[in-house]
């Protein structure tokens, strides 16, 4: 039996590892993706005051702290049985959509960039943020850096800090918005819409006009027929901040739609001894192992999942692009993992449009940006769509609002089983009869990258290219071959 080790996988915080085992014929017998880290927020949050949870749990992830801030604040509202004022909801959703613009921008240009913008065979020296800027030109590079900077400046203004903002609290927001700020934010939102439109055009020109890329997106190597999960509003349109959780089957039909407070009736987490990260599955379908299909409870929660479970996007331009994607790829649902990149920029356009919509509402500068709880705290669940999947925060408190129990299921965790399956399938598709070629390196990497993984939010991905070493040993553990991309 040969073993192929891919280590380290740095965009998983350097703490991810892949092991691929080959049978005597040199074909893939088994493959694993292991997450070797746990920080234990759920346990050490016990005993903390519930109002501190948004500020504490945002430290789960410095890439998407806004997602934890919002899910936590919503869980706090629920703990106190509060329906917060409309102005408060809009301020939170606005801050959240501004964050989505910067997050999806970072992923599309800097992370997916090497594969689609520069190309899968790009020179190694191009595989970082600066390489991308050099490649696409200073003007486009400047646009990307400028857009990120503008969003982070607004996050600091509305949230207090540009990384780990804090202004969402039980009952609403700690600070309101002035008329002057509103005018400025609308103007910047319009710039974001133009930037998103430019990005769509860019994707069109670079990816969709290249048949080789389209064939790659549609190839079986990157396809799994699983269930999908995502938040939808009352019209079944995609929404990142509020709504119900909708799950559709591999056939695209609605399997179940549930309220956030009922998540325990639908989701269970499986434990494996070889990874610190658990494997969620649909409880009522059951854990059948690392397999897809209707009978396996494995599901995905990604930008593509959100498009798959929704009836469309709630803003006009994004909805047009949504329709175009499904028309191009053969209708709903789309199971090709690499199409996630397209879905992500549709969401970029949506979040920019939604930004303008929310900022333009006269009530956003209203005085009722928060309320004070009056009821006794006990238990609550808060759910938002993090960029990398549905995020659940569930708290139980004593009558003084001190945390007795906290349960968190974060975005990428939902995708733990599908990512393992994608890695295995990519390996199976590429490693035949003991032959490994350079293409494997990038293909395995692309199987990951589409998910934009941020493992357990304890680990995370950032701009760049994954360095890989693949070592192939024979049955006596003697090194037969080493492939490096460094």
């Amino acid at each position: 039996m040969k073993k192929v080790t891919i280590d380290p996988i740095t965009r998983l915080e350097g703490h991810g590892k892949i092991e691929i085992f080959l049978d005597d014929g040199g074909n893939v017998a088994d493959a694993y993706l292991q997450i070797p880290e746990l920080r234990g927020f759920e346990k050490f949050c016990q005993g903390r005051p519930v109002e501190e949870m948004p500020r504490i749990t945002s430290r789960i992830c410095g890439v998407c702290p806004e997602a934890h801030l919002m899910a936590s604040a919503k869980a706090c509202d629920a703990v106190y049985h509060m329906d917060i004022p409309r102005t408060a909801k809009m301020l939170r959703e606005l801050l959240y959509n501004i964050f989505y613009v910067t997050d999806h921008t970072t992923h599309f240009y800097a992370l997916a960039g090497p594969d689609f913008v520069v190309g899968p065979d790009a020179p190694k020296a191009q595989r970082n943020i600066l390489g991308i800027i050099h490649k696409v030109g200073v003007e486009i590079g400047g646009k990307v850096v400028g857009m990120r900077g503008m969003c982070h400046e607004l996050i600091k203004q509305m949230g207090g800090k540009s990384v780990h903002p804090i202004s969402a609290i039980p009952g609403g927001m700690s600070k309101g918005m002035t008329k002057e700020e509103q005018a400025d934010i609308i103007k910047k939102g319009e710039e974001a819409v133009e930037f998103a439109k430019f990005t769509i055009q860019f994707f069109n020109d670079i990816v969709l006009k290249n048949k080789a890329y389209v064939d790659l997106i549609l190839s079986d190597t990157f396809t799994h027929q699983t269930y999908n999960m995502g938040l939808v509003d009352e019209k079944n349109f995609s929404n990142f901040y509020h709504g119900d959780i909708r799950v559709t089957g591999p056939d695209g039909k609605e399997y179940v739609k549930f309220k956030e407070a009922d998540y325990l009736d639908h989701i269970e987490e499986h434990v494996e001894p070889w990874s610190y990260l658990k494997f969620p599955f649909l409880k009522n379908v059951g854990w059948k192992g690392f397999v897809d299909g209707t009978k396996s409870g494995v599901y995905k929660a990604t930008p593509l999942s959100r498009c798959n479970v929704s009836d469309g996007m709630a803003t006009p331009l994004a909805n047009e692009e949504h329709d175009r994607m499904y028309k191009t790829l053969g209708g709903k649902p789309v199971h090709q993992t690499l199409a996630t990149h397209w879905a992500r920029i549709i969401e970029l356009l949506y979040s920019a449009e939604r930004w303008v919509e929310l900022a333009s509402d006269p009530e956003i500068i209203g005085p009722d940006f928060r309320m004070v709880p009056t009821e006794t705290p006990d238990e609550g669940v808060g759910v938002v769509e993090a960029p990398r999947g549905t995020l659940y925060h569930h708290y139980k408190t004593d009558e003084n609002g001190i945390i007795k129990e906290a349960n968190l299921i974060v975005g990428t965790t939902h995708n733990n089983a599908p990512i393992n399956m994608s890695v295995k399938k990519a390996a199976e598709g590429l490693i035949k009869n003991g032959k490994v070629n350079d293409g494997l390196l990038n293909m395995v990497e692309m199987a990951f990258r589409a998910y934009d993984p941020c493992f357990g939010c304890a680990t995370h991905t950032l701009p760049g290219q994954m360095p890989l070493i693949i070592k192939i040993y024979d049955a006596r553990q003697d090194l037969l071959e080493e492939l490096r991309r460094d």
Binding site: T10, Q46, H152, S167
Partner: protein, 318 residues
């Protein structure tokens, strides 16, 4: 002349320190011109093997963020110490333990028991736990051991400079890079990327005599005066004992400082200092009344030691 070699590594962390680095925006191009980034898992192709192959001291400056939570964090800390001339504990986790350091209010065993057995969404009838070695049909799988408690970088290797903040703000990051590039390094052991005095000195809120009759939890009081010192309004703020450097960001949105820039100069134990400082501003001479007011502060340990438990005198749960 060859450009100085830089490394940035993340251990038990959240990635916020890297995002903060990107917040220097277009100056990242200046950094690119001035230094050679030789190891930075988050933005470029690098591997542990490459670092192992370097000669000792080959890296001029290494910014190490994240706490020491497991075997792998420790191993890389030792490796990077050996390979770096200057090792900086970059960010609150590496400097003081930060939020993951609250893990020292419990231990790894209790953490894992909750996560893999007790949590309401976990279905684990066979009580399976992650273990360092797992035998499977095809071979063997390994993962690093989680340590019982969290340690800071300075508690496991010799650290040259400490740069606090959760995360450090972009202006301070840029200021530190400028100092490094100038070659005029401060004395070993210095805290860098900070200002002198405390967060209160940077806070624009008006301050008067602090006499507190009652403490409020921040979500229970609606009309917070946006101009007046939060502590004077009965809202817990760690500003008086926290090192300046962030520009008093949290008070700018009507919420108290929680001390992510660490203890101000001369303060050995931040929690002890804050507890004393806050008790002293209670407007009463009656011990019973003072006790009643102090009792209004929920979770003093988790509040006053929010970002620095592992590096404090307390260190962990006793």
């Amino acid at each position: 002349m060859a450009k100085p070699k830089f490394a940035i590594y993340w251990a038990g962390s959240c990635g916020g320190c890297e995002i903060a680095f990107l917040d220097i925006r277009e100056k990242i191009l200046d950094v690119d011109k001035a230094v050679d980034l030789v190891f930075c898992p988050c933005i470029m192709d690098t591997k542990y093997e490459d670092v192992e192959a370097m000669s000792d001291g080959e890296i001029d400056v290494c910014l190490y963020n994240g706490c020491i939570r497991n075997e792998e964090n420790l191993h890389i800390a030792e490796l990077l110490r050996k390979k770096s001339k200057v090792l900086v504990a970059y960010g609150s986790c590496a400097s003081e333990g930060c939020i993951p350091g609250l893990g020292n209010l419990t231990d790894s065993e209790a953490i894992q028991k909750y996560v893999y057995e007790e949590s309401p969404s976990t279905g684990n009838p066979k009580k399976v736990y992650p273990k360092s070695t797992t035998k499977i049909k095809a071979g063997e799988l390994t993962i690093p051991e989680m340590f019982k408690y969290v340690r800071t970088l300075g508690q496991v290797v010799d650290v040259d400079y400490f740069m606090p903040g959760c995360p450090p703000v972009a202006e301070q990051i840029w200021a530190v890079i400028e100092v490094i590039l100038s070659g005029k390094l401060p004395p070993k052991g210095s805290v860098i990327g900070v200002n002198s005095k405390t967060v209160c000195d940077e806070c624009e809120r008006t301050k008067d005599e602090k006499r507190i009759k009652q403490f409020y939890r921040p979500h229970m009081i609606k009309d917070i005066d946006p101009e007046k010192c939060l502590l004077e309004q009965g809202l817990i703020c760690n500003g008086p004992a926290t090192r300046a450097g962030c520009g008093a960001l949290c008070p700018s949105v009507n919420l108290g400082c929680r001390g992510c820039y660490g203890p101000a100069e001369g303060i050995q134990d931040m929690g002890g200092k804050l507890a004393g400082a806050i008790a002293s501003i209670i407007d009463s001479d009656d011990p019973e009344e003072i006790e009643k007011v102090v009792d209004q502060i929920v979770d003093p340990v988790g509040t006053f030691y929010r970002f620095n438990l592992p590096s404090s005198l307390l260190g962990r749960r006793v």
